[in-house]
Point group: C2
Chain length 319, copies 2
DNA sequence: TATAAATATCGAAACGTTTCTATTTTTTGG
DNA sequence: CCAAAAAATAGAAACGTTTCGATATTTATA
């Protein structure tokens, strides 16, 4: 593996001269710099990241730890983060599972953005003793060493629910995602708040896990057990809503005639269902950008206003 | 940021003793090791990855460079790679866009798996001068410094096409993805080979870009221009097939009565279409595992048999 | 009890950069 | 033509680890 020494030797000059030349330091005359660069290229030399990171005490990288690569939600979030980091000369690395732990502990980046509920809060606080900034997206941690950025789920779901009630639905059911996960809890809170405020009683609650399959199962069990069907399903996310829609339609139900249904997230698929799914639109790309902006500010110990990302209610045809 | 020095000071011992203790070297008695470890934990010390990487001349990381985080295909591939790497004590980092270039140049990993056509072959070869192993998945590079692992697109598409012909379809059209991309070229080759072999003439060829939207557009243009409709669409991937299916169905066509259609990849959605889409199933999780196994072998300069991943024809209901 | 062997600990070099300071070379102008 | 200033180059320390070789301490053996 060629090192800066090899380049220096090939150029007949010192290591420091090579370093300055490759980093475009103005103390090296242009002509020499050009010569050195071309020799470096010929050799195929690129500076070792490890050595540079060690010396400079930074990496110009931001780590994004996610829980899995599937699902329609992370996609745009990552693109948004990457877009903004790129723009500021930073590199993004994405990890999942146990890899995330390792990368965090090793301080493989200058900062981390975390949306992976499998990374224990306790471990995060341990890491935060020696590593900052960390922004978490998937929970609230009340500790000064970690920053939270969340979606204002509660407010959005509150408004969506109010709109549902206003339309006159009476037998309103809630479809949970994974129970004690931040997104589910806060969305459910917003739902409840609106229901209480309007003196409505909840018709039923179902338990899913945020996947389309769990929506399918919920619908199937309603049909098989001939349980009473609500006139409105308020779902904790789009995927479950789509699972329920498709399954119920396949069994002869018509939406929104027989019942209404809503989702949350406005994933791409929500624009292809029939009827078009009413939901809450989260602009994940923009959210990603603002997360990235914030972490860059935190890096420089600048003040940030870490406000919650707003959701926009999209009332389409499904209720 | 606490360093090993701080731990040594707190323990009242030397740096080397701390290092040995934390790395479970048997020359440190268990009781001392325990003491040192607990002090380290208290301080919140984790060894610096950069320093370790520099000294050990490895990172225990593998970089996976992908072209984007969307789409249904990468998901399982990444899980497969991660699963296998994890099992062998390696960490996976995923990158996209310009970040990939930087990470490759800096040698931020011990090896790289690349499936991003935006990374120029020329640059890859430049990087390969000083960095190995590199496995590319999305093209063939005939150069000893880079390894190829590809899907046997040609064979699978050849067989699929033969099955189509055998069913008696006569007016067979091909729907291209991005034209000169490996997957498209090789699939098209297989298609052509079967057609020639059976003395069939191609009814028509359409140009898409692997997205569902491009499928929609193709269908829309056929309808609007009232062009003759083939009795079979052989598509370069599932997403385009689904776009065509839905659009044509929305305009009153019935599948497979009016025409047949096939995809490639067997994405999850393919099991939810009506009719069920006939396609070629690629087990991306398994493929990911075998890619990871191979890169680990290459790391140790072991011989690998870099064979092509086979596809399995899934004839369902769409032709 | 003296000494060898085994065990525990330490010091220092090295990894490949960046960057501060020092030195050499060139240019300027009186 | 010389001294001083400016420009170009070089040397060396430091970043935080790992690990080799050396030293100090304990234990075993004669």
């Amino acid at each position: 593996m060629a090192s800066i020494k090899d380049v220096a030797k090939a150029c007949g000059c010192s290591i420091s001269t090579v370093s300055y030349a490759l980093n475009n330091d103005k103390r090296i005359p242009e002509v020499t710099a050009k010569r050195i660069k071309s020799i470096a290229e010929e050799i195929g030399y690129f500076p070792s990241g490890a050595a540079r990171n060690l010396k400079k005490r930074n990496t110009k990288r931001i780590l994004v730890a996610i829980s899995n690569f599937g699902g329609p939600v992370y996609h745009e979030l990552l693109e948004g983060i990457h877009y903004q980091l790129q723009k500021n000369g930073y590199t993004m690395i994405v990890s999942t599972g146990a890899s995330s732990d390792t990368l965090l502990k090793e301080r493989s980046a200058d900062g981390a953005i975390i949306t992976d509920i499998n990374i224990a809060t306790e471990m995060l606080l341990q890491i935060a003793k020696n590593f900052r900034p960390i922004i978490v997206l998937d929970r609230r941690i009340e500790d000064e060493s970690v920053y939270n950025m969340t979606i204002n789920n509660q407010k959005a779901m509150y408004e969506l629910t109010k709109a549902v009630i206003k339309k006159g639905y009476k037998k309103i059911a809630y479809v949970h995602g994974v129970r004690d996960v931040f997104d589910n809890v806060t969305r459910y809170d917003g739902f409840n708040q609106a229901m209480k405020e309007q003196d409505m009683t909840v018709f039923n609650e179902y338990s899913g896990n945020f996947t389309k399959e769990s929506g399918v199962e919920i619908a199937l069990s309603i049909i098989q057990e001939q349980s009473p069907v609500p006139d409105m399903f308020i779902c904790s996310n789009d995927e479950m809503a789509i699972g329920i829609m498709e399954t119920m339609q396949n069994h002869g139900y018509s939406i929104p005639n027989d019942f209404g249904i809503s989702g949350f997230d406005d994933i791409e698929l929500a624009q292809y269902t029939t009827p078009l799914l009413s939901t809450v639109k989260i602009n994940h790309f923009e959210w990603g950008k603002s997360i990235a902006k914030n972490i860059l500010k935190l890096l420089n110990f600048e003040k940030t206003d870490i406000s919650q990302q707003k959701g926009e209610i999209m009332i389409r045809d499904s209720f």
